[in-house]
């Protein structure tokens, strides 16, 4: 069933892709092929392969139960928050918080999680910023 849904979704994706390809505005002077042709070929391949997947599905994969889905969704939310707040609160704090959360959810004890989080954050800061000289987001305290 999963593959059938996936296949139908793929066909819809291909149609959507083809439609936005057709909507590409041509420039005043174009080459012989133009900016639309290749995307349309891709859309065709995408559509055909999706249709094949829908018609000849593989055996059902193992999906997690609802609790695990929530777990993953929560982790994704934390990551999004991390991305958004990184430039505001600075690298070291944001990273320590996010890594602590992930360590906790992966089964560390509270103390273990905090240790992992802080260790990860400081370790990365030393290697990437102080050794390799990459710029990391600066928070209000300068790190």
């Amino acid at each position: 069933m999963s593959d059938r849904i996936f296949g139908v979704f793929g066909v819809l994706l291909a149609i959507g892709y083809a439609m936005s390809a057709l909507a590409i505005e041509e420039s005043f002077l174009s080459d012989a092929v133009g900016p639309k042709a290749f995307p349309l070929i891709i859309a065709a391949i995408l559509g055909i392969s999706s249709a094949v997947i829908a018609i000849k599905p593989d055996p059902e994969p193992h999906w997690p139960d609802i609790g695990r889905f929530v777990e993953i969704a929560a982790a994704v939310v934390v990551m999004v928050l991390y991305a958004e707040f990184l430039p505001i609160i600075g690298f070291v704090f944001a990273t320590a918080l996010a890594a602590t959360y992930l360590a906790w959810r992966l089964g560390s004890t509270i103390i273990g999680s905090v240790a992992t989080g802080v260790g990860t954050s400081v370790g990365i800061y030393v290697i990437f910023h102080l050794v390799l000289g990459l710029s990391l987001a600066r928070g209000p305290l300068g790190f």
Binding site: S20, I24, L29, F38, M79, L102, L106
Partner: protein
Amino acid sequence: MEILSALGDGFAIALTFENLLLALLGCFLGTVMGALPGLGPSNGVAILIPLAFTLGLGPTPSLILLTSVYYGAMYGGRISSILLNIPGDEPAMMTCLDGHPMAKKGMAGEALSLSGIASFVGAFFATWGLILLAPQLVKVALLFGPAEYFALFALAFMTLGGVSSTNQAKSAFAAALGLGLAMIGVDTQTGVPRFTFGEVHLYDGLDFLVAIVGLFALSEVLIFLEERHGSASAEGRKLSVGRLTPPWSMIKQCTPTMLRTSVLGFVAGVLPGAGASLGSFISYSMEKRLVDKEGTFGTGDPRGVAAPETGNNAAAGGALVPMLALGVPGSGTTAVLLAVLLSLNITPGPLLFTQNPDVVWGLIAALFIANFMLLAMNIPMVGIFTRLLMVPPRVLMPVVAMVSFVGIYGISGSSFDLLVMIGFGVMGWVLRKLDVPLVPIILGTLLGNSMEANLRRAITIDNGDWWTLVDSPLSLGLWAVAIIGFIMPIIFGRVVKNKMRQRKDEEGAISD
């Protein structure tokens, strides 16, 4: 003889205490950057350019430092591929396919040292190729016009099917998805924006590094989160390291593979625009076709580790040919090296070998030195690398996730890229569940733009005639190989599929 004496001069230039120290530093930093997801050879080299300038290094020492980083990163990428199933950089992607299953079987140490040897062999032959054949090989690059490039890219995609998945439709889907994602951004031919939805961040297109880190690293983290309870694999990732050096029989078994893929990878590297990723990819798929009679590739076959590693290191050497002899970069990394040469007032091109022999031969000597140094450094360090497997996932996975974020943010400084990466992570998780291979997606985003540009150039040159694509013997040959490669797995697919499925059930593996 003339070559040997020139090479001797090169070594005389390169073998000073300062230069050896720089090579050692470069090899070490390169290996580390190669192993970290998100930092690959091209950013590795670029990151150290300011260092070379700040130290006030002359042309030859700068090049020695930077090429050591280049070769080091090519070595380092395999470490995280094998141990974590997360490619450290894009050419190491193919090493995941057999390297990680080997590690799971308790052969991590063997896989690491075998791949180290394979890297050495590839780079060693490629450097000799560069010395002996550079002028002639430029002619090979000149055989490739736009139509031939298009055929070459098509070949890469059409032979994908049998390589990375048992279901050809899913491979095709993944390739089309990758190509489709590559189309996002301003069209390089006419300057019109495509699929950008008015979002200015997308004008520049998606960075494939964001895609690769999201698809591989973040989805791995999500898989661990999913499996923490219930199944044993999250806590019980107690993998034995096994022996640290491969037995002679394994090296012997892989020797023909290494020799063949050295040649193939080198040639792929020589073609500008193909680069190391294509080198490792084609090496893997050709070896699979040639020697994989029992369908063991993809399940931890040592030859499946040796092939892409030899291929990508040989391609790294090959990519220096067009850069030095034509001034045309063959890969992202050589583009950076070219930029370094230009800013040192050395113009690569047809006359470089005669006008600046000290630079060329110093560089070649540096490549040899770096290569031996890396071998000497990497084999004893296998023991240290494999300790990584002892780290429990609850500690390792947060580190992997954060390193991925930092790798991307440190390079682009953009939260938008991080969000795109998270999107790729979720997509990677869903696609893994559905058994859709991830490798073709990366290959698509990597090659999509040049593939399209070459198609459009070829057809415009021939006045809108699409038959031009099969107009030369070379492109006909490439297409023939492509079509055979596409059809064969469909015919023989069922047999292999059953075999693969049996094996998968046995291991309950999450593999691509």
